[in-house]
Structures are given as C-alpha cells and as structure tokens.
C-alpha cells in the first residue's frame, strides 16, 4: 500500500515538474508577450496542481491536505487574474510586437 502511494507521489510530482519545464521553455521560445502569457499561466498552474496532488498523500492530516489544496486554488486564482490583467495591459499598448 505504502509503495503504491509513494509511486503515485513520484509519478504526479515528476509530471508536475515536466509542466514547469514546459512553462519555462514556452517563456524562452515563444515569439511575443501574448503567447508567453499562455506558457506562463497555464503550464505552471497545471504543474503546481500535479505537485500538490502528489503531495496530498504525504500531507499531515486533513488540515495539512486542505492547506495544500487551498494553496493551489489561490495560485490558480492569481494566475487567471494576472493573465487577464496583463493581456489587457498589452492590448492597450497596441498590437503584438
């Protein structure tokens, strides 16, 4: 049982780390700010989500697990809002460069 849980943790966290890498690659490779915004706010939130998922079985009790989920929800909320705000700010400045 324990081994199964550990394997789950390892798989989920590894997948999360890959998404973080994807976000960075996007940030480095995409041609303009709008596309970079995609890389940033989507890949990363998925990455953090998978890492939180992987850490859940290792969490200390219900409150610990709840806090982990809350962290993810808050970062999602922040990411979504920031994406909107930045996209608006970019559009005010003019077409993509």
């Amino acid at each position: 049982m324990n081994v199964a849980i550990d394997i789950f943790t390892i798989v989920a966290i590894s997948a999360g780390a890959v998404f973080f890498m994807a976000g960075t690659v996007g940030l480095l490779r995409f041609p303009d700010s709008f596309t970079r915004l995609h890389a940033l706010t989507k890949a990363d939130n998925l990455g953090l989500g998978l890492i939180v998922l992987g850490l859940l079985p290792q969490a200390s009790g219900l409150l610990g697990a709840l806090k982990l989920v809350a962290v993810w929800v808050l970062v999602q909320l922040a990411g979504a809002t920031v994406a909107q705000l930045i996209a608006h700010a970019l559009r005010r400045k003019g077409p993509p460069t």
Binding site: A70, L74, L77, A78, T81, Q84, L85, H88
Partner: protein
C-alpha cells in the same frame, strides 16, 4: 554532495544572482521586479534555516506589501531615471566602492566561518518559562513577553512612520482621503479577485495569528496579510481609502500600542513591574495584546503604502 546540499547551494546562488540583478539592472523597473523575486527567494532560505516565523514575515511584508509600494513608486518616478543615470560616478570611483564592499563582505564571511559551533544561545532561557506563559512558540514568547518593550516600541515606530508619511501632505490636503488620486475603474478581473481574495485572506490571517501561540505565526504575519487584503481592495477601487481625519482610523492605528501600554502600566500595580504579567493571566493578556496589535498592523501598513492624501477633505 547530497541532494539537499546541492539544493542549498543552488538556492544561495539564485538569491545572489537576483540580488545582483537588482543592483545592476539598467532600468529601475527591472530592478524592482528583481527585488520582488528576491523577497520570495529569501522566504525559501528562511524555511531552510528552520525559521518559519521569519519566512512568514518575509513572505507577507518583504515580497507582498513592499512589492506594491515599490512598483507604484517606480512607475510614477519613470521620468527621473535618465537625469539620475547621468550622475552615475565614474569607473575609478565605482572600482573603489567595489573594493571597499568586497572587503566588508569578506570580513563578514570570515566572521561566519569562524563562528563557534554550537554558538552562544538564549534558547534554554527562552524555553524555560513557556509553561508559565501558556505559549508554545518561543518566538511569540520573546516578542510579547521577554522582550515586550522592544515590540511595543516597534509599534510606536510604525505609528511615527505613518505620521511622517501623512505630514508630507500639503497643508490644504490635511485630513483628506489617503493616497494619490486615482483614474477610472479597473477591469472586472481585478474587481473579481479583490472580492474573492479578502474572505480567504482573513481566514488565513486569523489562523496565522491564532496558531502563533504554539506554532509559527503571530500578530505581525497575520496583520501583514490583512493589510495586503486591504490593499487589494483599494487597488481594485472597490472602496475609497478612508480620510485620514477619521477617528476610527486613528483609533485602529494606535489600538495595538495603547493596549500594550495599558497592560504594561497595569503591571506596576499587580505583579510589581512594567510590562509584567500577573501569574495565571499571561496567556489571556498575550492574546489580547496580539489581537489589538494585529488590528493596528493591518491598519498601519496600507496607510504606509498608499501614502499621504492628495486632495482636500470633502
């Protein structure tokens, strides 16, 4: 080299790289963004030093509230960058400064390397009386009991800073709405965030103050998070900042140190010295002080960030 050592070294290098960027960046805005990132990395370092209370403070104040202050300032000061850059000292002077700073850093590094291990410590003394105070977190005990005088004066410093900031208002604007005039209403997304975040933030802040008695946390950290929530509401223009002549605002600002002072003076009467807690009453008094301090910090920090009033009272 173990994994954790590699991680620590990587983190240290990253902190130094971001700090170096903050100093060396050509544009002031890049420098400020670097500083915000630096604050976040520092809280990771504090977690690695097992100083979670400090990490919480750094996360809430160093990265969050300071970030808002500096970013708004740098955007307003954009026009001053070019004239200032012209006053940059020459190569020789900079090389001299670099040499001096290297000497200072090297001396400090030598102190670090020569420091005795285990070093001098007050931890046993701090731990001794935790039972009498009814507090499990030794840092809270140091802040509110053993060195309570420091903490009280620090609250006074915060109020002095607010008075300093307010006194920079022009005469005609004294008593008006705090902060600069603001433009049109912002986008819906920000208003949405500002409505959703504060309830969650208030719960987290109360949690952090409450567990501060026994676990990492406390009035500073909780108050700083409450202050951040007030700031996001103000930034989203959901409500206007209060006029600085309002009595409730001034009461909120001084509530923390005032309650601290009253408890301190009452200490003369009952246990016999300033800021002493009567036996058996330590825990409730500590909670009382912490509650009012949280309120005061939550009122003070946003006032410091948004600045003096920019229009006369209505």
């Amino acid at each position: 080299m173990s994994v954790i050592q590699a991680l620590d070294i990587g983190l240290a290098l990253l902190v130094l790289a971001v700090a170096g960027w903050t100093i060396a960046a050509r544009e002031a805005f890049a420098s400020v963004v670097g500083y915000v990132a630096y604050g976040l990395l520092l809280s990771l370092v504090w977690v690695r030093l097992f100083a979670v209370d400090v990490a919480l403070t750094e996360a809430a104040i160093g990265s969050g509230v300071t970030g808002v202050l500096l970013i708004s300032a740098v955007v307003r000061l954009r026009k001053t960058e070019a004239p200032a850059a012209a006053e940059r000292p020459g190569v020789v002077l900079r090389a001299l400064a670099a040499a001096l700073c290297t000497v200072v850093a090297a001396a400090l590094a030598a102190v670090v390397l020569l420091m005795p291990d285990p070093g001098a410590t007050l931890a046993p003394e701090a731990g001794q009386h935790l039972g009498e105070l009814g507090v499990g977190n030794p840092i809270t005990a140091v802040l509110i009991a053993y060195r309570s005088f420091d903490t009280m004066l620090e609250k006074v410093v915060l109020i002095l800073a607010v008075i300093g900031v307010w006194s920079l208002a022009s005469d005609g604007n004294w008593g008006g709405v705090a902060g600069p005039r603001r433009g049109a209403r912002p986008e819906g997304a920000l208003a949405f965030l500002a409505q959703l975040l504060p309830p969650l933030g208030i719960v987290v802040a109360i949690h952090i103050v409450w567990v501060g008695a026994n676990e990492p946390g406390g009035a500073f950290q909780g108050g700083a998070i409450l202050a951040a929530m007030a700031l996001i509401v103000l930034m989203a223009r959901l409500t206007e900042a209060p006029e600085i002549r309002r009595r409730w605002l001034r009461l909120a600002l001084i509530a923390g140190p005032a309650v601290f002072l009253v408890v301190g003076i009452a200490g003369f009467a009952i246990p016999g010295s300033f800021l002493a807690y009567p036996a058996g009453w330590a825990k409730p008094l500590i909670l009382l002080i912490e509650a009012f301090m949280t309120l005061s910090i939550a009122a003070t920090l946003p006032m410091l960030v948004i600045g003096p009033p920019d229009r006369p009272p209505s």
